[in-house]
Amino acid sequence: MREMLGFTSILGFIVAFLVFMVMDPSFQLVYICIIFLVNLFIVSFYGLTLFDEKKMEKSGKYPGLTIIVPSYNSEKTIEKCLRHVLAMKYPHVQEVVLVDDGSTDRTREIASQFPVRIMHRKQNKGKAASLNEAIRQAKGELVACVDSDTYPPENLLMDSVPYITPEMGAMTFYITVEKPRTIWQRMQQMEYFFSFGAFPYLGAKFNAVLVTPGPLTIFKRSALEKIGGFDEHNITEDFEMGLKLHKSHYQIGYLPISVPTEVPLHFSGLMRQRIRWYRGTMFNLALYKDLMFNDKYADVGTFSFPVTAAYVPITIVSFFFVLARGARFIYESGLQAAQFATYGQMPSLAFDPLYIRADMLMFLSFLLTYVFFLWISLSLIKEKLGPDKLPGLLMVIFVYPFVNAGFYVYSLYKEMRGSDLQW
């Protein structure tokens, strides 16, 4: 049965490719216009909230807080992580708990040099299970879940905890990339600016942050207990947690405080991570489909959730659209080159500035809007767009959309086929 579904999805991919391959230019334009309109609507919606003044009220309360660091084979980063965690200033840190989820390396040995409580689990059961066990034993009113490869800044808790309102179930932050080295990390750095910068910042104004990022989120323990903690069988428990909080009518807050985290160094690692994310996204979107267009959940139901859901098919279909047009272009120029070669004539490379096509112009206006959002994202944490960010910017504009869409396609295939889920 699952094999059949996997086969069907491949068939669907081929059909999509062929349809776009033979599609008339005027229909291509219609497709481009539809995508363009959808994007314009999303951008307009976010753009309008830019002028929404939402006052953040400072409660001045600093309730007790437990910091949980789940870890599994993280000997390379755990020392730096714990040093940052312990350096955080806060009057009522009740406990720092390191959950060692059956590591087979020196994680526990390194952690034992720090004043933290180590919770050892012999068997590796996953991040969600580790967190749940630590949460059950936590005492504070708040729980901060910090990944073992994340380095929170010193003043994070002091600057954020007073802003947690009674309606909130969680407080999220601006996740950034720690010192990017490879080109793939530079690309992810720019991508994180988009996805953890302007969009959640503006989204928080209408309570439409959907994810509680794994690297660092502060939860209210009462909220976690009410909704039953993390789903231990979910591969993207952070997205599931966000949706679950919204379903129980909790709000998710956001503050633009930069929290650096480690990201995959190379393409293979990035691919493994993204396949997990996107499969989790599709799985959870299907799981929480009753949020769709449900005005009981305000803007989450009518905007964020449908937009997140619409993004998946749009990305996948656009992948084949671009692929088919690329294939068509290569086929045509190859044919021409072959004919030119036969008749011994070189093609000319004349360029007329007036010869600009509509789709190029739409691409340009896309680019302008995203540069605008990037600018907001950067100004939130006072980052500068220096020449060191240029390779990442070029990658995120020209390589990322296609690679990312490819990951979505592969994730859809794997999800249809029902291959084993891996963390």
Binding site: Q339, Q345, A358
Partner: protein
């Protein structure tokens, strides 16, 4: 009830969409305007040459008359070639603006010019050769583009060659009659010295046919 925020976002979306479309339309119009201006003078000059040739046929053909026609022709030959190249490029680039009326006008003037050139040859002992190239505006005709490029290069290396263009898909009385006369049924085709070649001709083949100087 529709939320005000959604309505505003929708309005903004529509506005942004039309701004983008207007920019595209503006660029189309600019292109068209430039082409249209050049075409207007091209057409009037062609009409001028046509009446000059008509005069030549009524009067006794003389070397002086022929010289006037030839000089006038030489002056505008670069304009013709420039317009021809631009028409072929804009045909693919154009998005919204009505380009086709201009295209028909150009094709007609171009054919008139071809007729002038042939009459000049008949009455004035001119040494040039006329090459009529029939292409197809169908983008799938990649051979047409190859043939066009080959003719460009031939024209650049042989000053005695004059090239003219005709779209096989365009239906006008003059064009249809010429198509019938030379038995043109497919694109790309080339008509040289009254002979039709319904295939891609290489640069060397054309040079032999036109006795390139």
């Amino acid at each position: 009830m529709v939320n005000l925020k959604y309505a505003m976002a929708a309005i903004l979306m529509v506005n942004l969409f039309f701004i983008t479309l207007s920019v595209i339309d503006y660029m189309d119009m600019q292109r068209l305007l430039r082409f249209s201006n050049d075409l207007a003078s091209f057409s009037s000059e062609t009409a001028d040459l046509e009446s000059a040739v008509a005069l030549l046929r009524v009067e006794q053909p003389s070397a002086e008359y022929c010289k006037i026609i030839d000089t006038a022709y030489q002056q505008k030959i670069t304009t013709t070639n420039d317009l021809m190249e631009r028409m072929l490029a804009y045909e693919r680039a154009n998005m919204f603006a009505e380009f086709f009326a201009l295209k028909r006008q150009f094709l007609l003037s171009n054919i008139q010019l071809w007729q002038v050139s042939q009459l000049e040859k008949q009455y004035c002992n001119a040494t040039h050769t006329d090459v009529l190239y029939i292409y197809s505006s169908d983008p799938s005709c990649s051979e047409c583009q190859v043939q066009g490029k080959i003719l460009d290069s031939v024209r650049a290396s042989c000053p005695n060659v004059r090239t003219f263009v005709m779209d096989i898909k365009e239906s006008m009385a003059t064009l249809d009659m010429i198509k019938m006369k030379y038995n043109v049924t497919s694109a790309p085709s080339v008509v040289v010295n009254g002979q039709t070649y319904a295939k891609v001709l290489s640069a060397d083949e054309i040079k032999q046919l036109v006795s390139c100087q």
